[in-house]
């Protein structure tokens, strides 16, 4: 167990250190999320009534697209440098690699989401600075990442990874997106926890299932 944690931590710290030195993906993801949220300003009628209705959707589509970029970045460098092979030969089980990689992707996406919060307040005047929104964002991002890391590892091995990742990833996270948007909508309307507790439960259920399935299946992806 200690070996599990220490080797997962080693992969996690390695990924974050690379990110800290290059700042390659976090800046591009942040910029992409910013642009996505700007684009919606022009796509929809900027009348406050409309914004109230589409606000939660804008937030989650921006986060989702940013997440896709983060996921597709994560395995590309591993593959191009041949370090994925090195990880596979090292005497650690594949679940550990999954946990380490997923944790680093999670951290990057979550930091981007935190930075984006004030942007949504300024641009759309959304009541987004709410503890419950933070919890929903945490659970949703966890689900994104646990499914996405698996699909990203698959897509990174193929010729057209930029196309394949969203193609596999987006249908798989439809329930997450529904739960995130629906609960965010309720939070923005000032509802109490009992109104959206079932969505929190759905997020927890999805997270649990996707973490279990991903850790079982990740070994097969690395094997081939």
């Amino acid at each position: 167990m200690r070996l599990f944690i220490s080797s997962a931590l080693a992969i996690y710290i390695k990924d974050l250190r690379i990110e800290l030195r290059t700042r390659e993906s976090i800046l591009s993801i942040l910029f992409f999320a910013l642009l996505t949220s700007f684009i919606f300003r022009f796509a929809f009628d900027p009348n406050p009534k409309v914004m109230e209705a589409v606000g939660p959707g804008i937030v989650w589509v921006a986060f989702l697209f940013a997440g896709v970029i983060a996921l597709s970045h994560s395995f590309v460098s591993e593959r191009d440098q041949g370090t994925l092979q090195a990880l596979m030969i090292s005497p650690i089980p594949p679940e550990v690699i999954l946990v380490g990689k997923a944790a680093s992707i999670f951290t990057i996406i979550f930091i981007v989401e935190l930075i984006m919060l004030p942007v949504f307040v300024i641009l759309y005047d959304l009541p987004i600075l709410d503890v419950w929104f933070g919890i929903i964002a945490f659970l949703t991002t966890l689900g994104f990442v646990s499914v996405g890391t698996l699909f990203s590892a698959i897509a990174s091995h193929t010729r057209s990874r930029e196309l394949l990742l969203p193609l596999l990833f987006l249908p798989a996270i439809i329930p997450l997106l529904i739960a995130a948007v629906a609960s965010t909508n309720l939070i923005f309307q000032g509802s109490e926890i009992q109104d959206f507790s079932k969505w929190v439960q759905l997020l927890l259920l999805y997270d649990a299932i996707s973490i279990v399935l991903s850790s079982i299946l990740f070994g097969y992806v690395l094997e081939d």
């Binding site: 193929t158 394949l164 193609l167 249908p171 798989a172 329930p175 759905l202």
Partner: protein
Amino acid sequence: MSFWPAKNLNWSKEHFLILFTGLIGLVNLWMIFIWVPTERSMGLVQRLFYIHVPTVWVGFIAFGFVALASALYLFERDSKWDRRASATAEIGLILLSVSMASGAMWAKPVWGTWWTWDPKLTSVFVLWVIFIGYLMVRVYASSMRQAATWSSIVGIIGFANVPIVYLASMWWRSLHPELVTGPLSESGALHPDMRTVLYFSTFVFLVLFLSLTQLRLSMKNSEEEFEKFHKELLT
């Protein structure tokens, strides 16, 4: 195998299968379009029901089998399970497409819209997209083994997803009561003749599905044999 065998050719199992499927298919068409009484409130368009419902049922069976065979493939690493899963997925995708198209044609005059995001439609749509992802992954993989492993993973995750999608869109709808629900509940209020046609048509589509899958599978088996032979020749 040409479709119509020459006089001196042996009739294979597949020829009988095609012939049988064609015959009961004709009977099915006669029952759907001539024999069964017309529904009172919806009229002729209701006859699509006997194509729409069986195809979606058989499509779900197909997808369940794909997930099962995928899990068995990962467990046993025997390529026969992959061939079965992928042949089923191809035919299942066709059935689901037929079901969605016929459903949309029925919904336009009856609901006044081609499509709504009600739980059943949402889950079928997600299934359909996942089937496409399943087949796309196989195209982009660089080896047969990769194709088999990756598509199995997609099949399993997709299958686990469907009940959650159903749950999510059911709760979602309860927040948006303006969404239309179907006037047809699948059991109960059906006329006995209509039920007979529905069950017969389900049987016909099941046989059609099995025979198409069988044909596709025998094609895949020949491909695999050819690959093996080709490899042996090279070495």
